[in-house]
């Protein structure tokens, strides 16, 4: 008898024996899931509105950004493999979560890049645009982080945001030879892809062989041009990233709402079954009580 009572005492802790859920438990659960479904539905609406606006602003931004990179593509500027020792990675995400694999995709790419570059003996520093990226990177790669940018994602990004980031980068004193911007490129409402765009230093550009074709360029003009191009690339990355993020959040909240409605359906069935079981039990008690008389 002692053993039986002690087993009854221990069972809730090992959690393998569950009592039949009462009507009240199911009602509480049902109400909370319905509230969550309302919240995810409204988040989806908000994300859809923000996505529509971001996509509209992305069209001119893409033309602008590809125009800025046209020089590097047409002049086929590549960093010389041997001389490149200092790398810079700019990772673009945002501050807010609940958007699927947006932040983890960029963080994974950055971690791979850091592993490759430090494996071949190069120095790498990372600039985080967005708090989520900082959270993902600072524990394992904290010593590679150069700058963190917060308050990203609340409002749609504009050109002055990109120029603030570029100014901080240039005044940070880190002279990089080669760099890349890692962001999520928007492909469609349901798909995005983690992409990289290159950043070149002034030395790389001026010593590239095809640059001789370009007439009459002095160091000052080249420096101004490079600074402007840097801002343009960052701007493009910010715009693409924000559009991808809003579309991913829309998709994520949509699936969350669907899952919630599935759970509601299942729970409603369980609720009805439980209710019928309770009624049946009461009837049986009454009838057996009456029969006993």
């Amino acid at each position: 008898m002692f053993a039986r009572t002690s087993a009854l005492v221990f069972s809730p802790q090992c959690g393998q024996v569950r009592n039949m859920a009462t009507l009240k438990d199911i009602t509480i659960r049902l109400k909370s899931i319905k509230n969550i479904q309302k919240i995810t539905k409204s988040m989806k609406m908000v994300a859809a509105a923000k996505y529509a606006r971001a996509e509209k602003q992305l069209k001119p931004a893409r033309v602008y950004g590809t125009g800025a990179l046209a020089l590097y593509e047409k002049a086929d500027i590549k960093a010389p493999e041997d001389k490149v020792a200092k790398h810079l990675i700019v990772g673009v995400t945002s501050d807010r979560g609940l958007c699927g694999a947006i932040h983890s995709g960029v963080a994974k790419t950055i971690k791979n890049e850091i592993a490759n570059l430090t494996g071949s003996g190069k120095e790498v520093m990372v600039i985080n645009v967005g708090d989520k990226l900082r959270g993902l990177l600072h524990r394992t790669h904290g010593k590679h982080i150069l700058l963190n940018c917060k308050e990203v994602g609340r409002k749609p990004p504009n050109f002055s945001d990109a120029s603030v980031i570029a100014t901080e980068l240039l005044t940070s004193g880190y002279e990089f030879d080669q760099g890349s911007v890692i962001f999520n490129r928007f492909r469609s409402v349901i798909s995005y892809k983690t992409d990289q765009k290159p950043l070149f230093s002034n030395d790389t550009v001026s010593s590239s062989e095809n640059m001789g074709v370009y007439d009459d360029i002095d160091a000052d003009v080249l420096r101004n041009y490079q600074e402007f191009a840097l801002v343009n690339v960052i701007y493009l990355a910010l715009k693409e990233s924000s559009t991808s993020e809003q579309s991913a959040r829309m998709t994520a909240m949509d699936s969350a709402s669907k899952n919630a409605s599935e759970m509601i359906d299942k729970l409603t069935l369980t609720f009805n079954r439980t209710r019928q079981a309770v009624i049946t039990k009461e009837l049986i008690e009454i009838i057996s009580g009456a029969a006993a008389l």
Binding site: A68, N158, N224, Y225, F228, A229
Partner: protein, 160 residues
């Protein structure tokens, strides 16, 4: 029928002449892209000439211009279309790239068509900036005010 035979013999000559004409005008076609971060004005369009204000002076860019990179100054960009009409825009700053394949990318930080600018507001801003310049001694603030003066002067000059 005689006319048809003559026609047939004449046709190859015509066709040859036509192909020569294509080759001559095919190469120096300018693919002109003019955009600001929020708006695209021209996207790989074919235009006759573009005048841009740069730090080293006003450039006229025609197809087959020598490749160059330039930084813009506040001023007026004039685009001459193939049909002879021209459009003027005011740009604040930016860069222009002329590549070897005759493509031109004009990227301006801010660009507006000239008819959207108000000359009285520009004059008022210019006077305010000039009075601010006299008042301050801080280097950074002076530099900003001087940029404002330069931009407003250019606007006023463009609209007059």
């Amino acid at each position: 029928m005689l006319a048809a035979r003559l026609f047939r013999r004449a046709l190859p000559v015509l066709r040859q002449a036509r192909s020569y004409a294509d080759a001559a005008s095919g190469a120096p076609q300018m693919s002109f892209t003019f955009a600001s971060p929020t708006q695209v004005f021209f996207r790989e369009a074919s235009v006759k000439q573009v005048d841009v204000p740069t730090l080293t002076g006003v450039f006229g860019i025609l197809p087959a211009h020598v490749p160059t990179l330039q930084v813009l100054r506040p001023g007026v960009v004039t685009v001459f279309n193939d049909d002879g009409s021209s459009a003027k825009y005011f740009v604040s700053s930016g860069s222009v790239t002329v590549n070897a394949d005759s493509s031109v990318q004009l990227l301006a930080e801010e660009a507006v068509p000239l008819d959207q600018l108000d000359v009285t507001a520009a004059r008022a801003n210019l006077e305010k900036a000039q009075s601010e310049l006299v008042g301050t001694a801080d280097e950074a603030v002076r530099a900003e005010v001087q940029i404002s003066i330069e931009a407003n002067e250019a606007i006023v000059k463009a609209l007059e």
